[in-house]
């Protein structure tokens, strides 16, 4: 046991470095995916047939092809067309596109789920389409988006090991190096599984917190101290 620890300790730094990289790739991919999800989710609901078609093609393409293929295409093939991506960039872009496509469906579905009556109320008040989305529809749609987004984020995290194939030194890359150098496969792979498990759990906690706050914004807050104005002036039998 003792010399095992001395074997491992120098690797601890590397592992932490890999952990940081894993988190970084996850965050970059998530931010990009969020942007693309909203962009194409809204595009998929556009009035014109061309924008909807474009959105549909994009979504089906990136959902229908393998993430690894997309990743390798960006890293190995793109240079041929004159555009060389840094490994980090390639990873972030691949994740953004792939998970953004799945996210777009979530956005589209959540917006569709807002009751039609809300749309009608905004028409009756003459709000512009932009105001309608920004002020009424999206705030309500966002609550429904959080659980599926949470799942996608965890899936994104679980896909990050792939980036070791394009020379990014993440947790998995470090575990592979360790295995190659020291052996002890059982230890290192179990450890890496636990690391990912911990990260996934943190994400779930975060998402739960986010969902609770979003729901509160829709009216499950405690009522604040009211401005007391005396009794109702009109109407009998109103229940306060």
């Amino acid at each position: 046991m003792d010399d095992f620890l001395t074997d491992f300790t120098p690797w601890l730094d590397d592992l932490l470095g890999g952990l940081w990289i894993t988190v970084l790739v996850t965050v970059l991919g998530a931010v990009g995916a969020l942007v693309i999800a909203f962009a194409f989710g809204l595009l998929a609901r556009a009035k014109g047939r061309l924008p909807r078609f474009v959105a549909r093609v994009f979504i089906e393409f990136f959902r229908g092809t393998s993430l690894l293929v997309q990743l390798w295409w960006l890293f190995f093939v793109m240079p041929n067309f004159g555009w060389t991506l840094e490994p980090m960039a390639a990873g972030a872009v691949a994740f953004s596109l792939n998970f953004g496509a799945y996210g777009a469906e979530v956005v589209r579905g959540a917006i569709n789920a807002v009751p039609k009556a809300q749309w009608e109320a905004t028409v009756a008040l003459n709000l512009t389409p932009y105001q309608r989305m920004r002020r009424v529809i999206l705030p309500q749609a966002v609550v429904g988006m959080i659980p599926p987004f949470g799942n996608l984020l965890i899936q994104l995290l679980k896909s990050t090991p792939l980036v070791y194939t394009i020379t990014i030194i993440d947790v998995t890359a470090v575990t592979q190096s360790f295995r190659a150098a020291e052996g002890n496969e059982f230890f290192i792979f179990t450890l890496s599984l636990l690391v990912y498990l911990a990260l996934a759990y943190l994400i779930t906690l975060g998402m739960n917190l986010l969902e609770r706050r979003a729901k509160a914004a829709l009216g499950q807050r405690e009522e604040r101290r009211p401005l007391f104005r005396g009794r109702d002036k009109v109407g009998a039998g109103e229940l306060v």
Binding site: Q118, A124, N126, G219, D232, K233, V234, A236, G237, E238
Partner: protein
């Protein structure tokens, strides 16, 4: 503009001049179902008109067409002297732009059966949102106006609450305040008490009576509340299968209608109470 108490109203309040609403041979189809066939009618400014009739007769469709929630398949709808969907330019009629539609539509407000308050905003903000965003009012001014309106509907102390914390009757009163905040010339009321528990209905109707008494806003009302209709309306129109069967002052329609269809409808409604 003359304002009359409910009990005194018996005649159209203004001399027939330019109608504020005009339906000109309006046709509306839903699939194979033709709801309105070349419907013609007019409403004068300040007039209070109640639309009655069985479901499917087209009365709600008329309101929805006015609020541009539906588009007519034929004919045209005029609001305050301008067509909703078309523009007359150089003697030619062509489809109006979105800007034109929004400008004309601004004169119309609607209160829905299901209130449709925005759950992600406080009561106060529900009322100020449109005036600030659409009319370009300053937030402070809008807030003050909103508070006045909420006070008039008796809900000032709920200004900071969320819609979900209010009863149905309270939400509907906020909805009325919200519609009035936009200072429309025409107020459409689509069965605004039908979704409420019976004991909450009176509160909402009282608010509407007050609005009728203290303003000269034109009101188009679809309702089953016959007493309220009798109190507030200048004219009652009975619809069936997309046509006006009969129309006239409430005393006449409710007590001595000419048409058999009106009679049988009113009887059925009265029996239900």
């Amino acid at each position: 503009m003359a304002t009359e108490t409910a009990l005194e109203s018996a005649a159209v309040p203004a001399p027939p001049g330019q109608p504020i609403i005009r339906f000109d041979k309006v046709v509306k189809r839903f699939g194979d179902n033709v709801v309105l066939r070349e419907l013609d009618f007019e409403v004068q400014p300040g007039e209070r008109v109640t639309l009655i009739g069985p479901s499917g007769s087209g009365k709600t469709t008329i309101l929805r067409l006015l609020m541009t929630l539906e588009r007519p398949n034929g004919g045209s709808i005029w609001v305050d002297g301008e067509p909703l969907w078309e523009v007359a330019e150089n003697g030619k009629i062509r489809t109006g732009s979105e800007k034109h539609l929004r400008r004309v539509r601004k004169k119309i407000g609607m209160v829905f059966q299901q209130f449709n308050l925005f759950p992600n905003m406080s009561v106060l903000r529900n009322v100020t949102e449109a005036p600030v965003r659409v009319l370009g009012m300053h937030q402070d001014e809008a807030d003050q106006k909103a508070r006045d309106l909420l006070d008039r509907v008796g809900l000032l102390e709920k200004a900071d609450a969320r819609p979900t914390q209010l009863s149905g009757g309270q939400q509907q009163r906020v909805a009325i305040a919200r519609a009035l905040a936009m200072e429309p010339k025409v107020l459409l009321l689509d069965e605004v008490t039908s979704a409420l528990d019976p004991e909450l209905v009176a509160g909402v109707l009282d608010v509407l009576r007050e609005v009728a008494e203290t303003t000269d806003i034109t009101m188009l009302i679809v309702t089953h509340e016959m007493h309220f209709a009798r109190d507030v309306s200048h004219r009652v129109m009975m619809f069936d299968e997309g046509q006006v069967v009969e129309q006239g002052p409430p005393e006449k329609i409710f007590t001595a209608p000419d048409h058999e269809r009106t009679q049988s409808f009113l009887q059925a409604v009265v029996e239900q109470r």
